[in-house]
Symmetry: C2
Subunit: 203 residues, 2 copies
DNA sequence: ATATATATACAGACTAGACGGTACAAATAT
DNA sequence: ATATTTGTACCGTCTAGTCTGTATATATAT
C-alpha cells in the first residue's frame, strides 16, 4: 500500500471540471490542470491513463450527481403528494429552489461535450444520450400519472412535453451564461410550472 | 486589383463553421480548415490576421443570419395579423416551419462560444450577449402588445417570458444534438406556442 | 518488535508531433 | 506596372503522453 490517492484524484476532477467550463475540453490542457492543482504530471497520468479517460470520469461523476438530484426530488415529492399534478409541479419546484440564489451561472457538462463532439469517444456521447433519456423517462412517468386524472386543454405531444424540462434546463444554462444572469434559470423553470399548471384540468 | 478573394473568404467561413460545430473552436485547427477547403496558409492569414479574427467573423456572420431570420419573421407576421396574440403565435410558427424537416440537428454558435468562453475576446462574448438581448427586446415588444388586449390567467414574469423563446431554442439545439433528433426542435417550439395560447385571455 | 518486501502513489525530465503564426516569393488581374 | 491574392517553407511554443526513478504505507516473516 501507499499514501491515499483519492484526494488527489478528487482534486483533479474538481479543478478539471471548472477548467472545462471555462475553456472547453480541448481548450483545457493537462498543464493547466497541473498548475491549478499543484499536482505533477506523473501523478496525473497515474490516475488517468489518457486525457480522454479524464473526460469519461468527469462525465460519469457529473451524471451521478445529476441523476442523484433527480432521484432526491422524486423521493421528496413522492412522499408528500397524493395528487399527481401537485407532485409534478412540486418536482419542478425542487429545481427552482436548487437554482435559486446562485452566485454564478452554472454549466452543464452534457452541453459542453455536445458542442465539441469529435473530442470524445462514441461511448461517452451515448452515455450522455442515455442519461438525458433517463430524465425523459422520469417525466413521461410523472406526466402519465397526471393524465390518468386530468385532461389537457389543448392537444399535446407527450414525448415533446417529456423533453421540455431538460430543454428548458439546458437552454437556461446557455442563456444564463451568455447574459451572465444566474437568476434566469429559476425564472424559466417557473414558466414551465405555469405551463403545466394551465395545461391540465381535472377530469 | 488581383483575383477576387471573396469566394476564398466565404469558403473559409463556411467550412470553419462546420468544423467548429464538430470540434469546438479551440479543437478546430487552422490546418484542418486548410485541408477541408484546399486553401493554403498564406491565403488564410491574408483573410484573417489571427485565428481569433476568424472567430469574430464567424460570430458576426452567424448573428447577421440569425437576426435576419428574426426580422423576416417580424415582417411576415406584421403584415398579416391585426390581433397581437395571433401575431405572436404566428411569429413562433415561422420558426416551427423553419425547423421542420431538418436532416441533421443544427447548432448555435452562441452556445458553442459560451461553453468555451476563455477562448474569445470579451467583445465577442458581449456581442453574443447583445444579440440575445435583441431577441429578448423583440419578444418584450410582442408580449407587451398582447398584454394591451389580453390578461394572463396566472401571474407572469414578463422578463422571464421574453427569454423563454431563446431558452427553448438553445435548449432544443443542445438536446436535439445530444439525442441526434432533429425533429425535436420544432416540437419544443410548438409547446411554447401552446403555453402562450393557454396563458392569455381576451380582456 | 523490527527488518524486509511489495504494491501504491507521486516527481519531473524528456520526446515527437501539432499548434498558431511569419516570411517572402510567386501568381494573377487590372 | 502594381496592388492584391495565394503558395510554401519555416519557427518557437505548447501539446499529450512516456520513462525512470523515488517516496510511502502496509503486509509478512522472523
Amino acid at each position: 500500500m501507499a499514501r491515499d490517492g483519492k484526494p488527489t484524484r478528487a482534486k483533479i476532477l474538481a479543478e478539471s471540471k471548472t477548467l472545462v467550463f471555462e475553456n472547453g475540453f480541448s481548450g483545457t490542457s493537462i498543464d493547466q490542470i497541473l498548475a491549478r492543482t499543484g499536482i505533477t504530471k506523473g501523478a496525473f497520468f497515474y490516475h488517468f491513463k489518457t486525457k480522454n479517460a479524464l473526460a469519461q470520469a468527469l462525465i460519469e461523476e457529473f451524471a451521478r450527481d445529476d441523476i442523484g438530484h433527480m432521484q432526491e426530488a422524486l423521493q421528496k415529492t413522492g412522499e408528500l403528494h397524493s395528487d399527481p399534478l401537485d407532485r409534478l409541479l412540486q418536482f419542478i419546484q425542487e429545481f427552482v429552489d436548487l437554482m435559486s440564489d446562485l452566485e454564478d451561472p452554472p454549466s452543464c457538462l452534457y452541453a459542453s461535450y455536445t458542442y465539441e463532439p469529435s473530442q470524445f469517444e462514441p461511448e461517452i456521447l451515448e452515455f450522455i444520450s442515455e442519461t438525458l433519456l433517463t430524465w425523459r423517462k422520469t417525466f413521461e412517468q410523472l406526466l402519465e400519472n397526471v393524465l390518468k386524472e386530468y385532461n389537457t386543454k389543448v392537444e399535446v405531444d407527450i414525448a415533446a412535453l417529456s423533453n421540455l424540462f431538460t430543454v428548458i434546463f439546458e437552454g437556461s444554462y446557455v442563456v444564463s451564461k451568455a447574459l451572465n444572469d444566474p437568476a434566469l434559470i429559476s425564472g424559466q423553470l417557473k414558466e414551465l410550472k405555469n405551463y403545466f399548471h394551465l395545461l391540465f384540468e381535472k377530469k
